[in-house]
């Protein structure tokens, strides 16, 4: 090698305004970068959503069929066979609400765990802020949920409940839940990028979480709170999944009134959204330079 450039290459590079390759951007510029890729994020989410059933003959019909079939299975097992509907008026919309809202969170988490590992080719080929991927997957799940909500409206009409003003409460509840889900999705994306084995554990963790979230039975009615320590009851009431499910039931199901909600439910919902959303974003950003490496 000829000796023309200066001996101290590092000083030479800095003097010419070069930056260390692959260094993590500051949090502010990271947010700006993501904002710059907002069209990528939404286009990616929509493309993934439509590609999902592209190999099925019935195509996009499955967007609505899948959640409806899910609800039918749970209704058959928990409503008819196990008869958990005792004491719950409007059991069908109550159950369907729970199933849809729960699957929004659980699917977002599962999608988040796979968001980086299943797109390694893209991550290694092109440069973009990596948080775009878990965010795009969370948006895809939100789009999916909106399809399910369409099905839910039909079920509600079938049970004699029609749109009214109180349904608008579903909007802030969904927004908060979306932020919460996106945060969790980013946390999972970072964890599985370092320890892929966690993806194998997730179905079990999620199932446990589901059974403690009152998706297909009422926590209030099934558990006798007098026998449980105060901390457990508090934990069950602050469980974010249960909180978001209850809020949606409160908004959409008439017989689910304010007295069925845990105390301070909106505050808990906002706090969870902020903690998971902001915390998850920062946690993900902290390892930005490491994704796709190795």
């Amino acid at each position: 090698m000829d000796a023309q450039p200066p001996q101290d290459l590092t000083a030479y590079a800095i003097a010419h305004g070069l930056a260390v390759s692959g260094a993590r951007p500051s949090l502010v510029s990271y947010v700006k970068q993501i904002w710059g890729r907002r069209h990528f994020i939404t286009t990616f989410a929509t493309a993934k959503l439509t590609a999902q059933y592209s190999q099925a003959k019935m195509g996009q019909v499955w967007q609505v069929m899948t959640p409806l079939l899910n609800a039918a299975v749970y209704y058959f097992i928990f409503g008819i066979l196990m008869n958990t509907k005792r004491g719950i008026p409007d059991f069908l919309p109550w159950l369907v609400c729970g199933v849809f809202i729960w699957s929004f969170t659980s699917q977002s988490i599962m999608a988040g765990t796979r968001s980086l590992t299943s797109n390694m080719g893209l991550v290694r080929a092109l440069h973009f802020p990596r948080a775009s991927l878990p965010i795009a997957y969370a948006i895809q799940q939100l789009q999916q949920l909106l399809f399910s909500m369409g099905a839910l409206v039909v079920i509600l009409a079938f049970c004699g409940e029609y749109p009214k003003k109180s349904w608008l409460l579903a909007v802030p509840a969904l927004l908060l839940q979306s932020v919460f889900n996106t945060g969790l999705s980013m946390i999972m994306a970072r964890i599985t990028s370092r320890a892929p084995d966690i993806a194998q554990l997730m179905p079990f963790i999620l199932r446990t979480w589901m059974y403690t979230s009152g998706v297909m039975w009422s926590i209030d009615k099934v558990l006798n709170k007098d026998h449980l320590p105060h901390l457990v009851v508090l934990g069950l009431q602050c469980n974010p999944a249960a909180v978001y499910i209850d809020l949606m039931r409160f908004a959409l199901v008439d017989s689910f009134t304010a007295s069925d909600l845990p105390p301070h439910v909106w505050i808990v919902a906002v706090v969870w959204a902020l903690v998971a959303g902001v915390g998850g974003f920062i946690y993900f950003w902290k390892a930005e330079e490491s994704y796709g490496r190795g």
């Binding site: 260390v20 590609a51 893209l122 320890a195």
Partner: protein, 279 residues
């Protein structure tokens, strides 16, 4: 650096490459490698991937698992690349060429030494699948958006990208999912997407080897255009003639050590002599 001697010594195809190329701007470096060492950590040499619990405890304690083996892939490479240069990387299989490119792209951490770059380098590898379940059309749009182009820019360049790739020459393939493409078609589309944007530093890993003669000619022309737009291009290839035609400078790596850095013609000749001797 190499360029001073280039002027007097280049011959034949190297001369042709230099004619196409813009004058190299020696005062503006785009990539600086300062004594770069890269060590791969290969997991599971002894105990498989390990259990989730041990992975968890490793996550928390940030300790390395005992089954890790280290491979010292690049040892002390230093060079400066400038605006308008096309640099070929040569060397036998496993000599660290691709590893070095990945590190320049910021996809691999360096063990020792530093890599500085102007702007964001883009690495174009032959195995970089985009989204195989989406159509070629979607891939073009998403790839453009991911590279930071605006919607309008993507719309404007869409037809150019498709025409350049030549995907639609044999029928309407662009509306089919990318998983149905042959490997050559996929590589061509990926190259076309990545080449649609002007990169400060573009690195091409064996991508020129795929595609037919027409496409290779077209991509070589695009590479020299990219250099004219004040970019630096790195090319990894096992085809010595491709290196001679595309690049005027070459770096020869062997077992991670830089053997030679100079005019492409000289370095390739020395490399050919070396590989010839082995037989």
């Amino acid at each position: 650096m190499a360029e001073t001697s280039t002027e007097t010594q280049e011959t034949g195809t190297a001369q042709a490459a230099a004619d196409r190329a813009p004058t190299v701007d020696l005062s503006s470096p785009t990539v600086v490698c300062d004594d770069v060492h890269i060590v791969y950590k290969v997991q599971g040499a002894s105990s498989g991937k390990g259990s989730a619990t041990s992975a968890l405890s490793r996550l928390i304690s940030r300790k390395e698992s005992p089954g890790i083996r280290k491979v010292h892939a690049v040892r002390g490479v230093s060079f400066v690349a400038h605006k308008g240069e096309a640099i070929g990387l040569i060397g036998s299989n496993g000599s660290g060429k691709s590893t070095l490119l990945k590190a320049i792209a910021g996809l691999l951490p360096t063990e020792k030494g530093k890599i500085f770059t102007q702007g964001q380098p883009s690495l174009l590898g032959v195995n970089a699948a985009l989204m195989s379940d989406l159509t070629g059309e979607r891939n073009v749009i998403l790839g453009g958006l991911a590279m930071g182009m605006s919607r309008e820019e993507v719309r404007e360049r869409y037809q150019d990208i498709v025409d350049f790739s030549g995907i639609n020459e044999k029928g309407d393939f662009i509306s089919l999912p990318m998983r149905t493409y042959s490997s050559g078609m996929g590589a061509r589309l990926r190259f076309s997407i990545a080449a649609a944007k002007n990169h400060d530093v573009l690195m091409i890993d064996e991508a020129l080897a795929t595609g037919d003669a027409t496409f290779q000619r077209r991509s070589q022309q695009r590479i020299s255009e990219l250099r004219q737009e004040a970019g630096t291009v790195f090319v990894v290839s096992h085809s010595n003639s491709a290196i001679r035609e595309t690049c005027e400078r070459a770096i020869w790596l062997e077992t991670g050590v830089m053997q030679m850095d100079g005019p492409a013609e000289e370095v390739v000749a020395a490399y050919e002599k070396h590989t010839g001797k082995k037989k």
